[in-house]
Symmetry: C2
């Protein structure tokens, strides 16, 4: 037995007990006659008091100790075990460590080669460990939701057929026959539809999917997808499940009880926000452009003026409301604050422009209410022009104001096709049912889930008719030959009594980013690949000689 307790659980109650602990040497402090060691394991840190300075132990050694729990003179309130320390009687080195090449307590630039190469050491970093813990919890919460709601978990194949639509597939060699291949799926799309044809009513799965595209902040070549599909449903039934899921998650993770999930058409979204994935936690308006006509002080000719609305600002509890204002003041060269509720106006105010008119215009344009905070930001032209949203985003994230706000949106009624370079492409994918089952309006019965500006998931009601499916393939420019080769079995399958069905695919890592207001999926993946899809730790992809295919 390596331990009687872990390094995170001992407290006053255990005083005078003899315990056995195992873990890593987190730090060593040599005093006059004694040595202090912080012993670390997965569960925490416990202070060891060793009545000698003659120990041949270094940082990150794995040791096992037997000792007595004693009360500390000076408690450390930062750790769970801060009330006690262990008076060590026996010490044993379980394993040594050479000097570790990275500092596990430091936060590095995410793209640092060392971090990829020594990922297995950096897993000892507290933040990364906590990220893996919360990811594991979120996976559990999601699964529990689907069990409660009577979904069946069904695994689908990963060695599948390569088809021409969509992004690029990874290709897998079939060694029994030259020139023949499997591919790795971008999603279980075909299989989940076949499950519905096979009479399964509600399916879900958390499954690895693959895209042979370069990795980014929000994309890895292999990623977990929450995949679901339901029969005998329409779009509203799916929306209800998505809304229920998001509410369940926000409650289980953050104890948020009330959340308003907006459902908006693509047309309205674009008209109002000019983006497919708006972050409605704040709104930024450029004020000295054509849309806003007002008198501007000559002094500000070379400035861009933005109106920043923080919706519901005065209703949010638990944050220090001055923090964000001070933060913006410090970071942006000129800032004017206008608190619509209290009419507190920053002292810079007098020097500027007709804010009253501006506010009126904003009220007309927006659902600006007296719960919202309005700020005017005055920025030098060119300098911030393009990056203002990102900058504000970063400021707000740091202020923890945005961290407590979740505004999920379901966008529906997307275009069915987009036209580019003389060719039609599916806006969602070729299996999406036309809205009202009519092709002529170029509208799709598809939908996206956006949370705080992150595109979390995307789904649709599917075509359940072989003729319609064939028509769509033709519009997409697939030849009869190609349709036959790649989709003949699927077109046939639709003829055997296909129920109305639809579903959604949700990227687990993006969902986690949005639910925790984080911005890089690498922080939630134990062993990520770099931007060239390489695993620098295991040195993959690697050369293999004499591959016969």
């Amino acid at each position: 037995m390596y331990r009687t307790h872990n390094c995170g659980e001992l407290n006053k109650k255990h005083c005078n007990s003899i315990v056995k602990l195992s873990g890593w040497v987190h730090s060593i402090r040599l005093m006059k006659k004694i040595t202090f060691i912080d012993l670390r394991d997965f569960y925490g840190i416990t202070q060891l008091l060793i009545p000698t300075i003659k120990i041949n132990i270094k940082k990150e050694y794995v040791i096992q100790i037997i000792g007595k729990v004693v009360k500390r003179k000076f408690p450390n309130f930062n750790i769970n075990t801060g009330d006690i320390e262990i008076y060590v009687k026996k010490i044993k080195i379980l394993n040594k460590s050479i000097k570790i090449p990275i500092d596990i307590n430091k936060e590095y630039n995410k793209n640092k080669v060392k971090l990829f190469k020594y990922r297995y050491i950096y897993l000892r970093n507290l933040n990364l460990k906590n990220n893996l813990i919360i990811k594991s919890k979120i996976l559990n919460i999601i699964r529990k939701f689907f069990i409660i709601n009577n979904f069946l978990e069904i695994e689908t194949p990963l060695l599948v057929k390569s088809t021409s639509e969509g992004a690029r597939n990874f290709i897998v060699l079939y060694r029994k026959k030259l020139g023949y291949y499997y591919s790795l799926p971008q999603s279980p799309q075909t299989f989940k539809q076949l499950l519905m044809i096979g009479g399964i009513d509600k399916y879900y799965q958390i499954v690895k999917c693959f895209r042979d595209e370069d990795a980014r902040k929000d994309r890895q070549p292999e990623f977990l997808q929450l995949d679901l599909e339901m029969s005998f449903i329409n779009r509203k039934n799916i929306f209800n499940i998505i809304i229920k899921l998001i509410k369940y998650l926000l409650y289980k993770i953050h104890k948020i009880k009330f959340i308003n999930i907006k459902i908006l058409s693509y047309k309205n979204i674009i008209k109002k926000y000019n983006t497919e994935k708006p972050d409605l936690r704040y709104k930024v308006y450029e004020l000295n452009n054509n849309k806003f006509k007002y008198n501007i002080n000559n002094k500000f000719l070379n400035y861009k003026i933005y109106g920043l609305i923080l919706p519901n600002y005065f209703n949010i509890v638990g944050i220090n409301k001055d923090v964000i204002i001070n933060l913006l003041k410090n970071k942006i060269n000129k800032i004017l604050l206008y608190n619509y509720k209290n009419n507190i106006i920053n002292k810079l105010d007098n020097k500027v422009f007709n804010k009253i008119k501006l506010i009126k215009e904003l009220i007309n344009k927006e659902f600006f209410s007296n719960k919202d905070l309005l700020l005017f930001l005055i920025l030098k032209k060119n300098k911030y022009y393009k990056t203002i949203k990102n900058k504000i985003n970063n400021f707000l994230l740091k202020s923890k104001y945005l961290n407590n706000i979740y505004i999920p949106i379901i966008i529906y009624k997307f275009p069915l096709f987009k036209y580019k370079n003389g060719k039609y492409y599916s806006y969602h994918h070729p299996f999406t049912k036309p809205y009202n089952n009519k092709l002529k309006n170029n509208l799709a019965d598809s939908y996206d889930l956006i949370i705080n500006g992150i595109e979390v998931g995307s789904g649709s009601i599917r075509i359940d008719n072989s003729k319609m499916q064939n028509k769509v393939f033709k519009i997409l420019g697939l030849s009869n030959n190609k349709i036959k080769k790649e989709f003949s079995f699927f077109l046939k399958s639709l003829k055997f009594g296909t129920p109305p069905h639809g579903g959604i695919g949700i990227g687990i890592d993006r969902l986690i980013l949005s639910l925790l207001n984080k911005n890089n999926i690498i922080d939630f993946i134990a062993f990520p690949k770099n931007y060239l899809n390489k695993d620098l730790m295991i040195k993959t992809p690697s050369k293999i000689k004499n591959i016969k295919i």
Copy 2:
């Protein structure tokens, strides 16, 4: 809305309600003036009464009806909804079906090409559907167990490095650089060890693994593995978790409360049962060989005589004990029954041999108790000689006697290496720690989990020392160059304070087979591949032109 209720829930209480149902036409019966339809969905079957015979509806059409729930004159006790039927007022065809090419109510030979090709239709088969439901439940139970026991679910990569040890890997193309490849993992072995090095304490995952070997009854090229690893543990700690898991599963699935899990060394297992995966639910002894010396009647010179022990037979409740005896009597040309407890002897008995001596010998050789049933089987030589165990197994399975017995065994202390054609191979895998950390005895700190003769899982305590790991690679004949190329990063990782650790990998489908006493994993996989690793449904692998590799 496609339905107010599903097809499995309506009963007497709903009488006179107006309901909307959707589903498949399971069967149609035309009567004189009315039509009966059995409407099927995922949840069950509901009888529809349509007051006309003029309907253009065929089997497997997807229809939606509105009607009134009425009490049936003649209840059908075989189905949940058997008390009622629906008097249909409106009927709508949601989708048609051409004639389906397989009978969804029939049990086919598993290898039938049609069954693979039309798998999506055969999913409508009741048994297959129920198998997928129980698999989903078992996955839930397993996950719940690991959540309760504070394991962290962590995903590991599927695009990994190809190494030379073990069975064949599937190779994946890296399109950015010619001659470079990923491979698909046979297990997350390396990654889970790196998680332990990274300070994760208890890891688990249900993950797809891959083997480029031909599919069999108990093997598919891609399969789900329950993978777990723990730090600061020894073999006994792992055994405890495995035992706890199996007990938890047997309780949750079968309400079995008491189960005795045997732990036996490899040496003892081989000595006693002459196989690595004994099925201890019954024991068969060949009695007229050298080991048993007794007087045999001349009449039986051309016969083989077997003693069949059914352990604990008289303690098992809930089965008709005569069934198995009658079954064996009918199937095997001569059978003698000896019930040790009640001294009831079959009438054939007198003509035969000295059974008393035989029983004494069996008692000496075995833990034969008065709870056990002993049967003598007298079989013509050559005829049954080699297949006797399989035959008896099949008989017993049909009798449902074996179906209610679960005898899990943990076998440990396997050989470390096996020697074949002038070369050493790992008995388990190269990362297995030598027993007592000593190479000279050729014993491994590894273990298998066997349930009812099925090899369900296999694991070990891992080498946590770089030098030992290097030594083992050398014994296995890996050149310095190969070690450097394939394992240098791993050998290095062991130097940064590796904790003692170990784990096990359990095949989900084999586990399910053993827990349900079934014998073909195809029955538990929605979309299996055939014996050539082809998916005949989606026609994969398929030809792709102009692939550069």
